[in-house]
Symmetry: D3
Subunit: 262 residues, 6 copies
């Protein structure tokens, strides 16, 4: 049964929290925002995704834009993740204080780095997040460290060969809610090109969901196309990031121009 939770920023009892969206039995498809600006964020949030990610790592987005994009996603009540630029407690905490329901932390290559990422997401005794949920607690009557700790999602990116070799250890770190695969960086780490479709690359990534499932951790992945989204869904991933707003806009515009000029 659906229940409101802090982290879901909507104003009504129908809002689904990010944790619910990601742990539902059906795959959760996410909208991916790399275009800066609150209007496209609202448009993406209204499109029908199960969650939306504000990508501050590779998106052209700084702090102030991230904040207004979190507000824009909040208009619709869809849960919002932020991908922070790096495994940096300052950024992680600012994203969460601004009302992100969770963070995706890039380049987590060891259990120690996972511990650092998780710790920045949790108030003591579970971590070392500093108190000051300035926007996160707005409109949440019973906001508390315990409630925040149980609702905020910490997704760590596994995207290098060394990281995948230690996947079992990484998913065993308490507080890791999801592993999020970066297929391009993983391909580069294997020595392939960023859009690699090498069998070995595919085989290794297809093995991830089972490991995650064994530890009760969500398996997520970035999907550069609907075909890849379908592939990874069939492989057992349940947190599926759709092609970004930018990719979608560029492809559709190119197709439109092609059709017009044919």
């Amino acid at each position: 049964m659906l229940q409101p939770r802090p982290g879901g920023r909507g104003s009504d009892p129908l809002t689904v929290s990010l944790r619910e969206a990601l742990t539902s039995t059906k795959p959760a498809v996410g909208g991916w925002c790399v275009i800066p600006g609150s209007f496209t964020a609202e448009v993406m949030a209204r499109a029908g995704f199960d969650w939306v990610c504000i990508d501050v790592q590779h998106g052209l987005i700084g702090y102030q834009e991230m904040l207004s994009m979190l507000q824009a996603v909040g208009v619709v009540g869809v849960p919002a993740l932020v991908r922070v630029p790096w495994n940096d407690p300052g950024w992680i905490m600012k994203a969460l204080d601004a009302g992100a329901a969770g963070v995706i932390v890039p380049m987590v290559n060891s259990p120690a780095e996972a511990v650092a990422a998780v710790g920045a997401c949790r108030y003591p005794p579970d971590g070392y997040r500093s108190w000051g949920p300035t926007r996160a607690s707005l409109g949440v009557a019973d906001y508390s460290p315990a409630l925040a700790n149980s609702s905020v999602i910490c997704a760590v990116m596994v995207e290098t060969v060394p990281a995948l070799e230690r996947l079992d250890e990484i998913v065993s770190v308490p507080g890791v809610d999801a592993v999020f695969i970066g297929p391009s960086d993983f391909a580069l780490s294997m020595g392939f090109g960023p859009r690699s479709d090498e069998p070995e690359h595919r085989r290794q990534l297809e093995a991830v969901p089972a490991v995650c499932r064994d530890h009760g951790v969500v398996a997520g992945i970035a999907c550069g196309s609907t075909e890849l989204l379908e592939r990874w869904r069939q492989a057992g991933y349940t947190m599926l990031a759709a092609p970004s707003d930018l990719v979608t806009l560029r492809r559709a515009t190119a197709e439109m121009l092609d059709s017009v000029r044919r």
Copy 2:
């Protein structure tokens, strides 16, 4: 029974439209934003007001801030009005396209000026608003000119002696939904100071609600204090703008400092 309407920007069936808020049997108390920035707008929207006004006339707010403030108010689902800088169709239409549920138009001193203000708020045949409800139609499945015309609120400011003398004509202009009194400007127009409490000033403004009621028009007024809000409510005004975010912040800060330094 409450029903969703375009102009209410929330994502759920419980959102009250601005028209409903203003035509309810109980007085509708509004939050007034002159501080630029989307965060204070969200804070004001969450405070419990029946409506919120983004004041682009005397507030320190330009277009881009207005847009992000409309989004911020939309997080909470409270209906948002914009007070435009002047009776200018460019500003009125941009505010409505950005998703304002209505506008407050300053210095409407004649029926002809009321006709111009109303016309900018309505698509043909009721007015001359240009089609392009870029944000206003987001998430409203059945957005149409007729629906927009019936939901957008046009409040005209009566705030000079000549305007009040023609109040009867102004409220008779089809499409005028509300008269909004600016007591300070009206006082200046009478030759008093902006915070006048002259009996004649009070007497004239107390006569406004009856005229409005006779024409099915909402009577609104800006209230510089809770005492004045109470006064004008008793006089029959039902659209009551509370002291602004700025006034509230300055007074409360001054009181805090006084108590600390005593």
Copy 3:
């Protein structure tokens, strides 16, 4: 032979000016930006359009965003038009000073209004534009009133029944370079819905290009889909605005989600 002209903001001799793009023998397809922000503007400019329009009327765009979007389009060297919010000399001149190669002026319903629009685009003796081409003259060694007057494009929007009835007079106003049709507003003016496909609506708009051609004026029109773009091209329009960045993004995102969820 192509030659650089002021108004084309590129840094090299291959840049095509807006006037050249619009008066070429082949139809000029334009990208339409209603999303605020300089990054989407650059993306649109790189997509391969013949021109790009920054829509400050129905786009969610204010002055500061318009300026950065003009710079972003300038990265690619595509000529940029600005649609101003209203027939207002302040806005027209600010758009041109900021480096727009031309303006599209909404709701020009009479020859007098066309004269006002043209006058704001031209320095004396052709008009009343005020001198101060702050960004427009950057990098243009021989910028002068005469050069500006001959290169800046003034497109007036004909989008009401009264305007179309006086089309012949409007296109006869010296300095009107293009007529730009707003089919939705024209439909509303005729008493139809904004997405009307009434034969009479179509018939009247199909008659426009011939009138324009007779006066040496470009015939332009906003096209809500590639089908409509093809229709109006066949009707003789040569300045064809493609569906906006917003429409394209929303449609493509909906299709992607549909395909993913099927």
Copy 4:
């Protein structure tokens, strides 16, 4: 003896008001800001000018930038004027509410236009400015309509042949504090180029200060170079706008590069 006045935004008794600066016996040299951004505005304000103008007409500046630039100039305590984009009450009032000590109004070509400009600067009974001095009254204990009316500067631009022909009438309009000449626009109006140095152009402009002096009105002018500044000072102008931040930066950068590359 110098005394603080509203309009001077400084926090201490040494701040000179704009009126004092302009009516002093020594010429008042002004810094001219067309570059958007609060930092250059602060730099210009610290440079030692008697006043600073934020040029929202030809500068690349919108409302939000204007506001932050007024704050930046306020750091130093130098009085700030705003040149508004057009003779538009919405802009004039927003500039004054934001704390400008005065406005420069472009293209005032008749006494009626001067009356409109003045009226937007003054509260009743002297004009029709609307009450709401949101930032202007901050820190001014005794801010009142009368005080504002006596301290705000209204400078009207005389920059066409028809305007100069009616100079006597324009300076006779009560409330016109200064006439500000735009030599380039005036040259265009005479049929010359914008940087004209025709004797007739010079002769006509040299006649302005005497007319102003007879009516107790300040004579101001924009000076494109230090040579021209000296010329117009000798002609009797006392409000002298120096070359803009942009012109200064471009010239100095070009000279630096030349010297480096020689």
Copy 5:
């Protein structure tokens, strides 16, 4: 006797430097800004506080907003501190270059972390701050490394049990000017809730000022209410941060609405 110092950004000899404010015999009460935007910052600065802190850690504030807020506080001449997001030299140096009179550095849990924080605040030989006081030196004729080193305030936050256990060592680190207590984080670290009023929590924090005094270090603390401010003042704290702009606005708005709706 009061004297101007770099770090105090005012333009006149009456400005009190931050060091003077904090080392005065009377307690220094600070305004705390978590709302982004330069206007509220100016309003807070004008309210009469002895210092103002721009909270970039838990405030919804990024770099660009911090800069404009520092300018806004500078209008009034009140000294401004910045709380940086984390103990990060990049942020500390950018805050100081932008003109902050000092920084508050979160989560300093050991002498080594205090050394790192102090070092980022001081030019060699006292630290490793990089030269480039872009705004800090504006208007300060004799700005030098020595002057900066002696005027910039470095306040380190002691807000965990391990940190408090090593308080004596931390205050012994040369260049630590103030210890700033975060009572909520300290309570979390002790295993209590963020608004704890446990006697042991109170007892431990009441012991801090004496330790600070023995080392000539200022004792500061964040106060969530005027009652707590009074408590900590009596306990010997002299740097007292008042409830934030956000807390003040929310409380006062809630009280206003309560009184209106009663």
Copy 6:
């Protein structure tokens, strides 16, 4: 022969890449931007410099401004470097993803720090840069990790005594393209003032170019005046940063005011 390369953001075959500019036989003079804002960046880019640096370390520039400044420089096609605030992979990667042709990394004091800086600039196997060249790859048909690795410039700042002592090791780190000297920080590190002209300071810096040349590394330096620029050029430096936009504007404004007031 000149050839386009990724990293040069222009749209035509004449654009010179940063690598070409820096490795040309003639010295490459750079414009230095510390003023935030895209307009001054475009002005600087049009001035004729061989490269432009957006200084996010000591400039008053945050992420969002950096992005719009990179676009503005791209209008002209001049290659743009970013000086990041600190040796921080998050900042380095965000600058490169936003389209910087290279970065200048402050305070690189050891070979290990140089390795970290270089690694953040290069995709595997040369480094650990994460894939996501959102703006960097726009308009570059054949963008690839290899192409990016070979075109992106990594300049490390040597600006302390310990760093200079290990210069030979630092320039030996594979992937270090340039050493960029900060003469002021180096002077502070030696115990002199920031504008030191001590013979020993000069002697040590004059020795740098030869060491660089031996390793095929570009020798760069910040020049506070045209005299210093000439000095360092004669000493063999080929990457010469001219005085910043701020220094240029302040000096030229001061000279103008002096000449006016003499």
